[in-house]
Subunit: 776 residues, 2 copies
């Protein structure tokens, strides 16, 4: 087919996109094809459809904006939907301008929900999201494939998309994402998936644009040890343990090979080692990552080679048009054969089958959901609860909770760029919220309070400072709601500075010099709060992240003591100078004296301004580890007893459940997040400072009362990774540390010979080498 | 005064800003004050008003949003107006929503007008701008102080505000700015100024934000030699030669001292050495540069010290509120005395006096200008002419000018992010234009042409590529209008890359593979056009910069041959890898083997993709230098004869006028920019490759005809700067080179002993040293 004809065809096809009727399996052209036979296996059904497709029809199905196959009554379909923290505006999601389906519940960003350390919350949120998605789908306002979650671990505070993740720790991310996928998909691998979730970006994505490197040309150089131990970990959970329906390969190259063209990643690790081979599991490219294989990676010498490389490596769907545009010529050049494209299309059709796409409504548990299932009172309450649970109290000299007199009005000056935030509270990848309750809105609902509102600080200019200083002077209490937002950190925007702007420090210090109580609510991800943590006239600091549609309500519920704060920082708060110590492009987690890398995350870096896991309460808690009967364990016994458990994976085998008695030794009832870390000098040096291995959020412990947290340790909790990426259980002395800073400690010992829990597959020959040979 | 009262006062004052009545000198409270006596000297008039002001009234007058003095009938006044290339939206400029005064003529950005190398054009443009400004003023829609031009030399392609300047060469900038100020102010120092122009940013500003450095915290480390030879040069012309009414000190520090707090810069150089002491000459700070002295420069230990430092150094006006907010306390602390604030306020009042502010309309030549003087047919024609003169033909295999058949329709695909540009054509600091004629609009006016329009390339994604490829396939001729815009380079946005995005190269190459004629119109400032300059299937490349409201008309007038292109690149087109060779923060112009700096500007860097001064025509020209009678000159004779000329400055003394015979040896009538450079190995090593010393644009030379350009050389043309910043005439062999690449050359010799033309004032003790002592 000539380029001209192809272009015209594509142009026509694009215009029919974005309607979502299901195929008519009763009366349509496919009615007698096995794909419409609910009694047949998914494999047979998909195979039957693929068997009757012409080759160009197959190629047409490989882009995210699929034209379907009109002659067969296969509808057009948009594969690209987003739902990071609620059904979100995206190519496939169509909000109504008003009335029914004009909004959806908008939860906090993952970074804030991550701070809740509450897996049940995440499951509940994800269940609401998938319910609302199905409701939108049932009126043809969305497809059913959602490109969420972003589960790259957030290892550098500069990364503009860190807000989309639950934080920096892989154990935390793995627990979070397992609950999330369960909620989104309606189970890990149910007969009919509620929606298909997509774990992205596979793998080592981690930056937007920094100096001359951007996500499109970034070649992430990562050791096998760091890959196995850190970067791959959340994806292992997605693929191996939570049966996510889709994985998105990323823009970057990894050790020389663009991930979407790397069979080591997409076949050896993902499909072979993790057994991610269920019906309809498919890999999609990040948007135009296939084009990027050609340029700017310049990995493939021609456009045709680029698409062939990706298809052969195992990328099934192209967000973008490079596949449908260039696969035909690549096929004509013999760069792949029919079996490859058939496998790809089979996976995609199977993915749709798993959604009940070819089944009658009666066969699918979700086809009756409707507008009344969107923004239910429970969903609204959950959005508020998620924001409250995710706020973290970083400093409090006793001012909080505020005691507001009822016999006269208190004047509160509410100042800063977040005071009257709107969509700013949603971060990125958000949908239309029914309302956006800013801090200002929430303050105005308080009885006996006058609010003097002042907006942003205009920094780096001093625009409006006169008005702000006047408002502050007129108040009894000054509440500063400020920080950063998606204009500072976002997709395609990394930061160079993680300190507060000097001019913001100037004006906040001017507020603090007025002799009035000052509270700082810091929003956005990480900022070095040192100037305010150490400032004697700033009474309290609370971190709010991106708290979603009820963010202001949550903030004032906490400030006034209606809710007690119990969130924990899901990220290390680094000092401002950290950005000068390690390039954003340096993927190494361990400190390195030669490069000057001071280490990344709480596991390897010990100079945090505020550490990972930190968070104060309106009361105090004491923790006591309930001593287990045994304090020494033989490795071979652990492994052999494990071989009898239900898990086919040794790292998931139970080790022991440690109970922690948590006592509220103050007055105010409060949740408490019990964090358990393992520490010790075992396995390969250097040794991490500690590693999170378990957490449990306890709820509403009254003053003077106790509650028991259970920390379920597995063999994986005790493991380390060697230089070849093998996960190994080592003999040695171990300590379980509870809370941040550590409040209580339990020592135990592993004896005997080391045992491999997971043998990491070697990369036989890196693709880079292969390609270099090709070019010689 | 308590901070509270001060705040309340300021708050009230701010609300009365932005009305522009002139004082009522006939019946108002000042009627009998000498300030209203048109027969008195400016000095006496200003002194009389200052004498009756209370101290707090004086402080109130020091911010850009001046409350005036209500009790004296001195109106509020907004000092901040912009007019970079037309009366521009800014705090003091108020466009009507519709009808009269709803728009103003919008000329190209300076970078495009700089490419015209036509000083008369600049004078004409500036005259239109000041006429329109006065018309707006006469209906109280603007003040009369304009913070234009930006005359920092554009030495690094990454700088986001390079577009605001005429280019990289100081001789060019000096000629340009002298014409501009003449046009804006209605003469260099007329009795009544038309408007007050402001040369900014004094000095060594040069970056927005790059890695951890931003313009607010940047400490520019510059050698005395580079300062005197390069960074100070345009400001010398502004202050010493063109009597600009105002100078804006910059955000950055220079060698440790924030410029707005540096008496060496503001007193020793500006006022003492350059004799910039006329009535009403004043220094304004860049917006909040006074606050920046406190933070992030941390130069002054308190806010009061910061304002005192700036005031004492000679910064008269604060764009911002730091002066009015903190000067009272600084005064109470005794950090400056009455004479300092009196001098400041006297300068500001004198500035207003020089605008005829206190004179009756009849005494001011501009008070009758009105709406009929805005966007006159001449002004409209000038905006088109400026855009046409500023476009530069970089490549042409003979395709241009297009021959469009009249007997059938030609289909043109007009593709790219600039094809339907609107305000993008205006760059930044723009006003409301009466229309914005995009390339698409202009193409649609052509007879016998069908236009297939396709927008931006969606890069880095491939969004919309199918449609673009389809449009290209359907065309006879493909015209790509693309490049960068203020979303890539702007105030507060420097670039990290100066290459085309790889995805743009991909799709443009796909267009070029279709076997059709392809023309590339590149907009925005500098991009490494190598991939297209060397591409055999791309027939022509034209550079358009930011061409203003008639940009599309200008482009198609040139593409179709209605107008012949004759602009020259006012900037070096660097290769993409240049950004890896020298940090944006490195202020050194000369190559440095140790740092790896490859040199800056055409004077010191010889690996340009396209050199400064390059530009093709639709014809060819030959140049012949008319040999002068003398080829050797005695330095002492030159200097002594100069002492008898009208100039008090030796560098301005005429050397000789060289005539160049320019012959159009082709068919098409065309303008020709005659560029004269001096080259030679004289004075201190290293030697610049060459230096521009004269230019003249000749107009409409018919094919086969000749015209004479006169290159007026001065003693300054032959000078070099030594390490102490002294401007010196050295003996040696000189060559005058005409055109780029050099077409003709004239050799001559200077003999005798070297002579200093300008002795640069030493910095007695740098402010940094002073401050370090203070802190000890």
């Amino acid at each position: 087919m000539s380029a001209l004809c192809k272009g015209l065809l594509l142009s026509t096809l694009v215009s029919v996109a974005a309607s979502y009727g299901f195929p008519d399996c009763r009366n349509g052209p496919l009615a007698n094809n096995t794909v419409c036979d609910g009694g047949a296996s998914v494999a047979d059904r998909a195979k039957a459809l693929v068997a009757i497709l012409a080759i160009d029809e197959k190629f047409n199905l490989t882009g995210n904006t699929s034209p379907g196959v009109p002659r067969l009554g296969l509808p057009s379909y948009q594969w690209w939907q987003e739902a990071l923290h609620g059904v979100a505006s995206s190519p496939g999601v169509n909000f109504s301008a008003s009335g029914d389906f004009s909004h959806a519940t908008s939860f906090p960003q993952p970074i804030t929900m991550g701070a809740a350390f509450d897996d049940a919350l995440i499951h509940a949120v994800a269940t609401v999201v998938s319910t609302e998605a199905r409701a939108f789908s049932n009126v043809n306002r969305t497809g059913l494939d959602f490109w969420t979650p972003n589960i790259n671990p957030y290892k550098d505070p500069r990364w503009g998309r860190g807000q989309e993740t639950p934080g920096e720790d892989t154990f935390h991310l793995k627990s979070y994402v397992a609950s999330l996928i369960d909620g989104l998909q309606g189970g890990y691998d149910p007969a009919i998936k509620k929606v298909i979730a997509t774990c992205k970006h596979f793998v080592a994505y981690d930056l937007e644009i920094w100096e001359n490197t951007d996500r499109y040309n970034f070649d992430a150089i990562v050791t096998t040890q760091d890959l196995a131990e850190y970067y791959f970990q959340p994806f292992q959970t997605c693929a191996r343990d939570a049966a996510v329906g889709s994985i998105m390969c990323s823009y970057n190259a990894l050790n020389g090979v663009p991930t979407c063209a790397d069979p080591y990643i997409l076949q050896t690790i993902l499909r072979d080692h993790w057994n991610w081979t269920g019906d309809g599991y498919y890999v999609t490219s990040d948007c135009d990552a296939i084009q990027n294989i050609y340029a700017p990676h310049y990995y493939a010498p021609t456009r045709e080679q680029a698409v062939a490389d990706a298809l052969v490596a195992g990328t099934d769907l192209n967000c973008g048009s490079y596949y449908p545009t260039h696969l035909p010529d690549a096929y004509d050049q013999g760069l792949f054969d029919d079996s490859v494209i058939d496998q790809t299309v089979t996976r995609l059709i199977s993915g749709l089958l798993k959604l009940g796409y070819f089944d009658p409504p009666s066969a699918t548990p979700y086809r009756s959901l409707g507008w009344s299932d969107v923004l239910t009172p429970d969903a609204e309450a959950l959005a508020l609860k998620a924001a409250e649970e995710g706020m973290v109290l970083l400093k409090n000299d006793g001012l909080l909770p505020l005691s507001l007199p009822t016999d006269h009005n208190t004047t509160i000056a509410l100042l800063g760029g977040w005071a009257n935030a709107t969509t700013k509270m949603q971060g990125n990848y958000f949908g239309v919220a029914p309302y956006l309750h800013a801090p200002l809105y929430a303050a105005q609902q308080l009885p006996n309070v006058n609010v003097k509102y002042g907006g942003g600080f205009g920094v780096p200019t001093t625009d409006g400072w006169d008005e702000l200083l006047t408002a502050a002077e007129a108040a009894d209490i000054i509440i500063v709601a400020d920080g950063i937002s998606t204009s500072d950190e976002s997709e395609s925007k990394d930061r160079y500075n993680i300190g507060w702007p000097p001019a913001s420090v100037d004006i906040i210090n001017q507020f603090a010099s007025m002799g009035k109580p000052v509270v700082l609510a810091q929003f956005g991800t990480q900022l070095d709060n040192s100037p305010f943590l150490s400032h004697p006239n700033i009474s309290a600091i609370i971190w709010g992240g991106y708290p979603g549609m009820a963010g202001g309500d949550a903030l004032f519920n906490i400030l006034t003591g209606k809710t007690s704060p119990a969130g924990r920082l899901p990220i290390t708060q680094y000092p401002a100078e950290y950005v000068n110590q390690v390039p954003l492009t340096d993927m190494n987690l361990r400190p390195n004296a030669t490069s000057g890398n001071p280490g990344r995350t709480y596991k390897w870096y010990d100079k945090a301004v505020v550490p990972f896991g930190y968070g104060l309460h309106y009361t105090n808690f004491s923790t006591t580890i309930i001593e287990p009967s045994q304090s020494s364990y033989d490795i071979s016994s652990l492994v052999s007893s494990c071989n009898g458990s239900d898990s086919q994976y040794l790292d998931l085998c139970p080790f022991t459940a440690i109970q922690v008695n948590v006592t509220n030794i103050g007055q105010v009832s409060s949740d408490f997040v019990t964090l358990g870390f393992i520490s010790g000098q075992y396995g390969p040096a250097p040794y991490p400072i500690k590693q999170l291995v378990a957490y449990e959020r306890l709820f509403d412990i009254p003053g003077g009362s106790s509650s028991i947290a259970t920390l379920n340790l597995t063999l994986g909790s005790l493991s380390r990774y060697d230089e070849n990426g093998n996960q190994v259980l080592f003999p040695g002395d171990y300590a379980l540390l509870v809370d941040v800073p550590t409040q209580s400690m339990l020592h135990f010992t592993l004896t005997g010979a080391q045992a491999v829990l997971d043998e990491w597959p070697e990369n036989p020959a890196t693709g880079q080498q292969k390609r270099e040979i090709l070019f010689e």
